[in-house]
């Protein structure tokens, strides 16, 4: 099914973008290393492949006139997710370029910022590339060499986004999110995370309960008093 494929591709792109963001965060810090730069490069390339695949798939679907209305709405929603993801990816790539220029690794005078990180990001990279272990095979000055490629890739992504805008016109604001606020809490990630739902609603609920209970008590008390009085009246008369 086309929808499932699109979703799967989108999930993959999403995952890679998240991992890329994690890695860009560590540039310039103490966990920065040549390995990190290599991981960045690989992740980025993977992200681009996924992006291209996503784009092709989605554009063919959106250009298809035979798609039903609900399907079209669904694909438009996926399109919006895709374009947002791509925006974030592009921003991260640009920042990576900037930070890469600022923090070259092999210059002895330039020291890395002591951010408190000690571990590496190999796990993140492995997750991004969907492999068990990362292999590092790049040269020792990849941090500088890679920057040129990075620039080109940024331009490529920029062009892709521009093309996307031109070819497919999906008004972003018409898409309605499927997930409610607080939906992330319903995930089974954290142990014991019961579905709490909207935070404010939760509080209101408890308040309502208390007031309801109070009201019930008062009402029943009044009822009892009324009954007692009636009985007294009956008895006395």
């Amino acid at each position: 099914m086309v929808k499932e494929e699109c979703k799967a591709l989108l999930d993959a792109l999403n995952k890679v973008t998240a991992c890329y963001r994690h890695m860009v965060l560590t540039i310039g810090g103490t966990s920065d290393s040549q390995n990190l730069r290599e991981e960045l490069k690989k992740t980025r390339q993977k992200a681009q492949e996924l992006a291209v695949a996503n784009r092709n798939k989605l554009t063919t679907v959106l250009k298809d006139k035979t798609v039903s209305k609900e399907d079209k709405a669904e694909f438009e929603r996926l399109w919006v997710i895709f374009s947002t993801c791509l925006e974030i990816l592009e921003i991260d790539m640009r920042r990576a370029l900037e930070l890469g220029h600022e923090f070259p690794l092999n210059v002895p005078k330039k020291h890395l910022i002591q951010t408190g990180m000690s571990g590496g990001t190999s796990g993140v990279a492995a997750r991004a590339m969907s492999v068990q272990n990362m292999k590092y095979e790049a040269e020792h000055n990849i941090d500088v060499v890679d920057l040129k490629d990075l620039e080109n890739e940024i331009n490529q992504v920029g062009e892709m986004m521009y093309e996307m805008e031109m070819k497919v016109s999906v008004p972003q604001w018409t898409v309605e999110a499927k997930q409610d606020p607080g939906a992330e809490l319903k995930s089974t990630i954290s142990v014991g995370a019961s579905s709490i739902g909207m935070i404010s609603v939760e509080e209101n609920k408890s308040f309502c309960d208390i007031s309801k209970v109070l009201a019930g008590i008062i009402f029943s008390a009044v009822l009892i008093i009324a009954i007692v009085l009636a009985v007294c009246v009956v008895k006395l008369s």
Binding site: D11, G28, V80, F103, M117, A126, W173, I189
Partner: protein, 598 residues
């Protein structure tokens, strides 16, 4: 904003590639990087955290930071403290023990350096999407426990970027999962970093928001100040040259004005007959309607105050026109009014109006040629090549001044004015009536429909334009048509010269068959216009709620009542005059009255 210590930093090598950063940001970043130097930088230590030990975590004791700044920049302690404080406020360093307190404390509390990704930079403003992702992540981590202001932001963002919300949730989950791949200590440090970043960029209520205008409004120290100062000098010089009036003079003018107009002010001096807002009686408005037949004395006296008062009042203009016609300079006022119409009329009609005015008033040999001097004429003609609203301004001003200096004086002494003054009415003061009807039905009166008023005005104007010079011709024509047919021909020219009030469409068809005595009806029609309908074959009642005066129709006075040209639709309803005053359709434009009882 930053102390001069930053200027001192000019000694540092500045990055040339990061032109997107602010100048001072560059310098701070350079400082930050110097601080990392293991030999000359700040000595760091590990932080022991309750949950987990962060063995290699580095933190700089605040005193160390202060000492380092002092030593490196050679500035006073106060400045160093301030500078260090700014570092913390802008998010280059964040406190570990009291995350929300973004100040540099001197008691040895621990701080840590922020990762470069989270350094403030103008080209990467903190994005709403990112913030939403962060809040969603926090939600997951803390199982729904967010701070109040964070909850508010969350809900607000949910509405604001709702179309991205699916992505936000997906990304938050993925980022959370990706974070799990790191060491626990690193995860903790990451949390601290993110929290610090968002504390700076989305300050909780009550905290000082440093970035407010901060990043956006930083001035470029390389900017050319000389031009700015030059402009300032020019402005001041021009301001000095402006002509000024002594305050004693201007205040004197104000006092004079107030004294003169005091009696005319309805709030300060009360108004006759009564303030409609107080007594619910709109007689005042009726009496002072724009082109009422007989104006109030106060109004007429006001025309004598100055020329602009006369020109402001449409009735005054009308009267003045009458006078000017006698002097054979009526075209001046007509021209002035035409210019006003041009200025305030439709933009689409500007061109044609200007052309018409030129043809009628300005062209050599025009029908109503006005007398303006050669230069003004030249300017005007030149401007008329590309007509716009204000193309006739010069000519208009000239004519205005001409009328003011020349005709106005004579007008005030003329019989026309004196007659108007004598005719003017002083309304009686009425008593508050509403006390009689506390719960009674209030008759709601509607004022004349603006459509009707406008029609009347346009009629008057058209009539004005047409019947200009030859009054006698018009009068004879009028006499002819009067006795002729009960149904009035379409466009009989109005009589009485230019200055007759357009007594056009009555709000209410006058009662027929009633004696000529006019009684003040319980619910007078609004508009206070002299409402008359010409019925040559019948006697008619001149209905004007305002006056309560008996008006008789007679052949002589007929000349004063114009034919109701605007009532072409009404003429079909002429028989409808039998509508009873209490009829519910009263006050409605008769053309809307469907049922005509003939």
């Amino acid at each position: 904003m930053l102390p001069r210590a930053v200027v001192v930093l000019g000694l540092l090598p500045v990055h040339s590639c990061n032109t997107s950063h602010l100048c001072y940001a560059l310098q701070i970043e350079a400082l930050m990087m110097e601080m990392q130097n293991p030999d000359k930088g700040i000595k760091t230590q590990t932080q022991k955290v309750m949950i987990t030990d962060i063995p290699h975590a580095v933190a700089g004791k605040s005193n160390d930071i202060l000492q380092w700044i002092l030593q490196r920049l050679q500035i006073t302690e106060e400045e160093a403290l301030h500078l260090g404080d700014l570092f913390v406020k802008y998010g280059y360093i964040y406190p570990l023990q009291e995350p929300k307190n973004l100040t540099l404390r001197r008691d040895g509390s621990l701080y840590r350096f922020q990762t470069p990704y989270f350094w403030p930079a103008q080209s990467w403003p903190a994005d709403d999407t990112d913030y939403a992702i962060y809040l969603a992540k926090k939600n997951i981590k803390r199982k729904g426990i967010l701070e109040e202001y964070e909850k508010e932001h969350y809900n607000m963002l949910n509405q604001k970027i709702n179309y991205k919300w699916d992505f936000v949730i997906m990304q938050a989950k993925e980022q959370y999962k990706a974070g799990k791949e790191r060491k626990k200590a690193d995860r903790y440090a990451l949390d601290c970093q993110e929290r610090a970043y968002w504390l700076v960029n989305r300050t909780p209520p009550g905290m000082l928001d440093v970035l407010e205008y901060g990043l956006d409004r930083a001035t470029d120290p390389n900017e050319n100040k000389v031009n700015q100062v030059r402009q300032l000098i020019m402005y001041c010089q021009q301001a000095i040259m402006k002509s000024r009036v002594k305050s004693s003079v201007s205040l004197g003018g104000l006092v004079k004005y107030s004294e003169q107009f005091l009696s005319n002010d309805p709030i300060l001096s009360g108004c006759l007959p009564s303030n409609p807002w107080v007594t619910d009686d709109p007689e005042f408005w009726d009496l002072n309607a724009k082109l009422v037949e007989v104006p109030t004395k106060m109004r007429v006296e006001r025309w004598a105050f100055n020329f602009s008062e006369l020109m402001r009042d449409p009735k005054g203009r009308q009267n003045f026109q009458l006078f000017l016609k006698k002097e054979f300079s009526g075209e001046n006022l007509s021209f002035w009014e035409a210019c006003e119409d041009l200025k305030y009329g439709d933009q689409s009609k500007v061109k044609e109006k200007a052309e018409e005015i030129y043809k009628l008033f300005l062209a050599p040999g025009a029908r109503r040629w006005i007398n303006i001097d050669g230069t003004t004429m030249g300017i005007t003609v030149k401007g008329l090549k590309h007509p716009h609203r204000y193309v006739l301004d010069a000519a208009q001003t000239h004519i205005y001044m001409l009328m003011k200096k020349d005709s106005y004086g004579r007008y005030l002494k003329s019989p026309v004015y004196k007659e108007m003054l004598a005719k003017a009415v002083v309304p009686q003061e009425t008593v508050k009536k509403s006390s009689n009807f506390p719960f009674g039905r209030r008759h709601l009166r509607s004022s004349p429909s603006p459509i009707i008023l406008r029609q009347q005005e346009e009629e008057a104007k058209a009539k004005e334009a047409a019947a200009t010079v030859d009054i006698t011709q018009v009068m004879s024509k009028l006499d002819r048509t009067w006795g002729a047919v009960p149904r009035l021909p379409p466009r009989t020219p109005r009589g009485g010269g230019g200055g007759v009030a357009p007594n056009g469409c009555p709000e209410l068809p006058p009662e027929v068959g009633q004696p000529s005595r006019l009684s003040l009806p319980p619910a007078p029609p609004g508009g206070g216009m002299a409402q008359g309908r010409v019925k040559p074959s019948q006697s008619f009642v001149f209905k004007s709620a305002a006056f309560g005066a008996e008006v008789d129709d007679s052949a002589g006075s007929r000349a004063r009542w114009p034919t109701s040209e605007c009532i072409q639709p009404l003429r079909g309803c002429a028989p409808c005059q039998g509508v009873h005053p209490g009829h519910p359709l009263r006050g409605v434009h008769p053309s809307l009255q469907v049922s005509c009882t003939s």
